[in-house]
């Protein structure tokens, strides 16, 4: 593929104190692709996602989103840290969905969705509301616009959170275990919304333990352990014929 990849991670590393959480990770995600990241707890999956929209700073390597260096500007051979405003500008194109939804509890579902378009993009309220209602319909919650998060089920909250991220018209969506906090019977409704999103051509990076979803939707799966990508490839290869022992051991537990 000759087009610029949506995400390029080039040997990125990150540590918290002496804890090397990411160790020289290299990955590429093309526009329109879905990458699923699987791996045991503490392997650095969330940290990797958070680095992509610069919620965490990387210590080494280079990270590009749409060919743009994340969080820094290169001048000659020196890197300059971006101002908060410039970093925010980069985040506009990246939506993020969290394990614990993180909806704003003092706002209705609709208000949650229109916040960022209004505050960040200065879209007039009426227009933002119209768009928000479209998104609420899209995630199947057209009748819940006036509900506060506390009055929605976990699955409904997560769908609102997805709509909230989509309201910024992102080019890339990051999902950090979006169904892990849900009761089993609510997982399906969220995965359905994500499948629809993937089908519509959205570029997505999904940290998940839902192997069925990964097998069906992902273009590629990366298995992370101990801060490195142990193995990555199309679902059929990685799930059907893993090469590394660590991958085999992990898969035998979750499949």
């Amino acid at each position: 593929m000759s087009a610029t990849p949506m995400v390029t991670a080039d040997r990125i590393s990150k540590s918290f104190g002496s804890n090397n959480v990411l160790r020289s990770i290299s990955l590429e995600v093309q526009a329109g692709e879905v990458l699923c990241i699987v791996g045991p707890s503490g392997s650095g999956k969330s940290t990797f996602l958070r680095c992509i929209n610069h919620l965490e700073k990387i210590d080494a390597g280079r990270l590009f989103v749409e060919g743009q260096l994340v969080g820094y500007r290169q001048k000659g051979d020196k890197l300059h840290e971006l101002k908060p405003k410039e970093a925010a500008l980069q985040r506009r194109d990246i939506g993020m969905v969290f394990q614990r939804f993180n909806l704003f509890p003092h706002m209705t579902a609709l208000e949650n969705i229109i916040q960022a378009p209004m505050r960040v993009k200065r879209i007039p309220k009426a227009k933002a509301t119209l768009r928000a209602m479209e998104l609420m319909e899209r995630v199947g919650l057209g009748d819940k616009a006036d509900h506060y998060p506390a009055h929605l089920s976990g699955g409904q909250q997560q769908r609102v959170a997805i709509a909230r991220a989509l309201a910024m018209d992102p080019k890339l969506m990051l999902f950090d275990e979006p169904t892990s906090a849900l009761d089993p019977e609510l997982v399906g409704e969220v995965l359905d919304v994500m499948k629809e999103l993937a089908t519509s051509g959205m570029t997505m990076i999904v940290v998940t333990h839902e192997m069925g979803f990964a097998r069906e939707v992902a273009d590629s799966i990366a298995f992370m352990d101990g801060g490195v990508v142990v193995e990555a490839g199309p679902p059929r290869e990685l799930l059907g014929n893993p090469q590394q022992d660590r991958t085999k051991a992990f898969l035998s537990k979750v499949l």
Partner: protein
């Protein structure tokens, strides 16, 4: 074991079922509370005695109370007390917010300065502080305000601290700021980290995140104790006598009674005004608390409970079973 027949199995939705008989209504003798009633009777009797007695005792000087309650000097003094409270609280909230943010700062220098401020202003009596501010004009011909031990922000010429009203506002605000900063800090800390993260991920700036996401949620924690602080401040203003400022409600009533030799009626007059203000504040606090608890708690009847007939039916069904079981 025999069960009443309609308690045996899950019943159809009572709203649509309709054919089954209701369980018998409970007709029981309610639990009596003889002690509650007798204690209440005794207390009411004692209160009545006190009122009758007080109404006849000359020391209370009810005629005087009526005369001074709406005396211009008193109502003007009440106004002074009110404005002192408002200005001091505004100053305290602004400075308290600053101190709270300083204490949450990762910078250890900034942090310890805020800590030192708290240590001093919480560790000494407000009365002593007010006396100090009253004589500060004598100690410092020119006084400066700022974070202690750093380049001052403002240099205040002597004549500010010779204005006793301003001295009172500053003295009260500086003391109160120490308490407000703790309240604000607790409020900011109570907001889940995920909120800031979600807001940042939506490309909102730090300022927007604070203003639209963190602070509104912190308010729920900050408002109730702040309301208490306002009420407390209203009463603390009576200590400005230490400065000495005597144009506030307590100061003026004391001044009048010193001339008329009727201390009790004027104490009553002052108390009535204080009570009036605190009552109004309590009502106001109630409404503000309601406003800031949006989206939380079960008390609030959101659209969820109104528009969801399924939920109503679900709660109705087990209730029907209970009654049936007892019937």
């Amino acid at each position: 074991m025999t069960l009443p027949k309609h308690a045996a199995v899950a019943r159809p939705n009572p709203a649509t079922g309709g054919t089954q008989a209701q369980g018998d209504a409970i007709v029981a003798v309610p639990l009596r509370h003889p002690w509650r009633i007798s204690i209440a009777v005794v207390l009411v009797f004692l209160l009545a005695l006190f009122i009758v007695d007080a109404s006849q005792r000359p020391d209370y000087g009810w005629a005087e109370v009526g005369k001074y309650l709406f005396d211009r000097r008193i109502s003007q003094a009440a106004w002074v007390t009110l404005t002192l409270t408002i200005y001091a609280m505004i100053g305290a909230i602004v400075l308290g917010l600053l101190l709270a943010i300083m204490r949450l700062s990762p910078n250890p220098v900034v942090k310890s300065i805020a800590w030192l401020y708290l240590w001093i202003f919480r560790g000494t009596p407000v009365y002593v502080q007010l006396v100090f501010w009253g004589i500060v004009a004598l100690i410092y011909p020119v006084f400066t305000i700022g974070i202690p031990f750093m380049t001052p922000w403002i240099t205040i010429p002597n004549d500010v601290f010779t204005n006793l009203y301003i001295t009172a506002v500053i003295g009260l605000a500086l003391n109160e700021a120490a308490y407000m900063s703790e309240i604000v800090r607790a409020g900011l800390l109570s907001v889940d980290e995920g909120q800031e993260e979600a807001s940042t991920a939506l490309a909102m700036s730090w300022g927007q995140t604070m203003r639209y996401v963190v602070v509104p949620q912190a308010m729920k924690i900050i408002i109730p104790p702040t309301g208490n602080e306002v009420i407390s401040m209203l009463k603390t203003t009576s200590l400005v006598a230490a400065i000495p400022l005597s144009i506030d409600l307590y100061g003026v009533s004391r001044g009048i009674s010193a001339v008329t030799f009727t201390p009790v009626p004027l104490l009553i007059v002052a108390s009535i005004w204080y009570l009036l203000f605190t009552s109004v504040l309590m009502v106001g606090q109630h409404f503000i608390e309601k406003r800031f608890s949006r989206g939380t708690g079960r008390r609030q009847a959101g659209p969820a409970s109104e528009s969801d007939p399924g939920a109503a039916a679900m709660t109705a069904a087990p209730m029907g079973n209970d009654l049936g079981g007892k019937g």
